[in-house]
């Protein structure tokens, strides 16, 4: 008993001396720690509950209205089949192309929207005059639903690619700009005053107060904006597309390949989840002060 106590004390001491784990080891350490909390078990339970319900509704009891929907067993076997019945699976080339094309479009649109929206929002928050010029236009264009832009986009741009990218960019651009602007406006006046006292010029204030101070809002905005980008991308691909997951959904529906349709939907869910996790990760990387102070580590 006492031996055990001593050894545990020693282990504690050893733990203090040990260097902080990095990279994969850190992730592994966090994972092991999380096993002591109910979170991972609830997550697994939640997934099974969801899958079970889905199975019973479709393949188990074949509830009316759900019977036409491909069930989880069918979808999963098809998904992992090297010789898919409906012609599309994780191993077929057209699936790869569709995922690749959609991801590429998101990368371009989201990149453009961020590259334009963040600076625009920052300037609007920073310069009163610039905001007076730009804000009315932004506020008039912003409420127009993205689907209302579709015909205009097709008229304006030729081919498949540019209209789709235009639509996805536009939607995500508005969200990013507005959130960045709100971010700058949320910065406490006292930080500007403190910077002024310390003899900062205007550009110092911009780089050392406006930019870092708006960051938390910017990244909240980016998480929403990447969701909006996916939404408008898929809508655009469904209406006018040659490739992409949105096109895959519409195309499979047209030729009654419901299994492929559900596969595209599930893929969208996964890819969307990964992209927003990447945005969150980048945000935490850039705002260590927030991560450390608010104990957000590992989230």
């Amino acid at each position: 008993m006492s031996d055990q106590a001593i050894s545990s004390v020693e282990a504690g001491k050893a733990g203090e001396v040990r260097a902080a784990p990095k990279g994969i080891m850190l992730a592994w350490y966090r994972f092991k720690k999380s096993l002591a909390t109910p979170d991972p078990y609830l997550m697994v339970f939640g997934i099974f509950l969801w899958l079970g319900t889905y199975y019973l509704l479709t393949e188990g009891w074949k509830v009316p209205r759900f019977e036409k929907i491909p069930g989880p067993v069918e979808v999963i076997t098809e998904f992992f089949s090297r010789d898919p019945i409906w012609g599309t699976s994780l191993f077929t080339e057209d699936f790869h192309t569709n995922v690749y094309v959609s991801c590429q479009r998101i990368l371009i649109s989201f990149g453009l929207a961020t590259g334009l929206g963040v600076p625009l929002g920052l300037f609007m928050g920073w310069s009163r005059k610039f905001k007076d010029y730009a804000f009315p236009i932004l506020e008039t264009l912003r409420p127009i639903p993205i689907l209302a832009w579709v015909p205009l986009a097709i008229v304006m741009f030729s081919g498949f690619e540019t209209p789709i990218i235009f639509l996805a960019t536009l939607a995500s651009f508005f969200v990013t700009t507005l959130n960045t602007l709100l971010g700058v406006e949320s910065i406490d006046e006292s930080y500007f005053r403190a910077a002024g006292c310390l003899g900062s010029k205007k550009h110092h204030v911009f780089w050392h107060v406006v930019v870092p101070g708006a960051m938390p809002f910017v990244f909240t905005g980016l998480q929403i904006s990447i969701g909006v980008a996916w939404f408008s991308l898929v809508a655009a691909e469904m209406i006018s597309g040659d490739f992409g997951l949105g096109y895959m959904i519409m195309d499979s529906y047209m030729v009654n390949k419901y299994v492929s349709m559900v596969m595209a939907m599930i893929s969208l869910g996964f890819v969307g989840w990964i992209t927003s996790a990447m945005v969150r990760w980048a945000g935490n990387r850039m705002m260590q002060w927030r991560v450390k102070a608010l104990a957000l580590e590992g989230r």
Binding site: S190, G196, C197, V209
Partner: protein, 304 residues
């Protein structure tokens, strides 16, 4: 009248050099401040609220002037004007003879609320000013900063972010940030508000030692009379809103100061004098609202 008095006094203190010239500034590194008939109000014409009325005050180079006044009387408004964040509606604010037109590095403000920027570590916050202005070499900055962290007792915490520090630590880091800039005039707006009694006392003593060593001109706003008497060379008592100067008391306790001086009869006299005025002003404040007459009555009978 008041201005005349200032110039003669500061002449004496800066060794006969002409007041207000750059030569005097550079050698003494201390500024004098002169407010004459300053008025400031807020709000639109139909809902005008005068906060400062005809406020005249002079702050002598190398002195610590404490300002006390009823809560909400306009002390922070006064600080904002001197710092240059806002401009007076009328009247003049002169620093070494030249009017204040905006914030500048010759006047440093330690704010009522902590204004360390949360996205920089304590160390980055402290070296922010000199690093931007490039008026010290990097080695010099580092040396000064290390010395200051030693003085304020935050050496182990210099790489922490402000939100990871306790309130008292934040205040100390903020003091260090103000001091590294060696301002000719330091303005402090209730810098120790919100600290517990023990750390407050420690901070007062710490701050006093720093002041007595460098003797940089200081304007110290506080709501604690004892704190004001303990620190100040001169105590300025403001009236209720709209604020003007009710009385200036010269505190003639010897330096270096010590806490037990606060129990001397002299200190007690200062305190009684200031309290009397403040009490009067506080009552005025309540009467003017009229809603709390019961409370005021109870309060006055209790104090008679």
């Amino acid at each position: 009248m008041a201005r005349k008095q200032t110039s003669t006094k500061s002449k004496a203190s800066s060794g006969g050099k002409p007041n207000g010239t750059t030569v005097a500034d550079k050698t003494s590194g201390k500024s004098g401040l002169e407010l004459s008939n300053v008025c400031k109000g807020y709000g639109d014409e139909w809902a005008r609220e005068e906060v400062l009325i005809d406020l005249s005050l002079s702050i002598l180079p190398g002195e610590l002037t404490a300002v006390v006044g009823p809560s909400g009387c306009g002390k922070s408004a006064l600080v904002n004007l001197i710092a240059g964040f806002e401009l007076p509606d009328s009247g003049e604010i002169l620093i070494d003879g030249s009017p204040v037109t905006g914030p500048g590095k010759d006047r440093l403000v330690v704010f009522q609320e902590s204004a360390l920027v949360p996205w920089q570590t304590a160390y980055q916050n402290v070296v922010f000013g000199p690093k931007l202005r490039r008026d010290m070499s990097p080695a010099q900055i580092k040396e000064e900063a290390d010395k200051l962290f030693e003085t304020v007792g935050l050496v182990e915490f210099k790489d922490k972010y402000p939100l990871q520090l306790s309130g008292g630590m934040q205040r100390r880091a903020e003091l260090a940030r103000a001091m590294i800039n060696q301002p000719k005039l330091m303005i402090m707006d209730e810098p120790f508000r919100g600290l517990d009694a023990m750390s407050r006392e420690l901070m007062q003593e710490f701050f006093l030692r720093l002041f007595e060593k460098n003797r940089r001109t200081n304007l110290f706003v506080t709501s604690e009379i004892e704190e004001a008497i303990f620190l100040a060379d001169r105590l300025v008592v403001l009236s209720n809103k709209p604020a003007h100067v009710r009385k200036v008391i010269d505190i003639k306790l010897e330096r270096p100061r010590d806490f037990h001086m606060l129990s001397s009869t002299q200190a007690y006299e200062y305190k009684r004098e200031a309290m009397e005025i403040l009490h009067e002003e506080a009552l005025k404040g309540f009467k003017s609202t009229d809603s709390q007459s019961d409370f005021v009555e109870a309060f006055s009978t209790q104090n008679d």
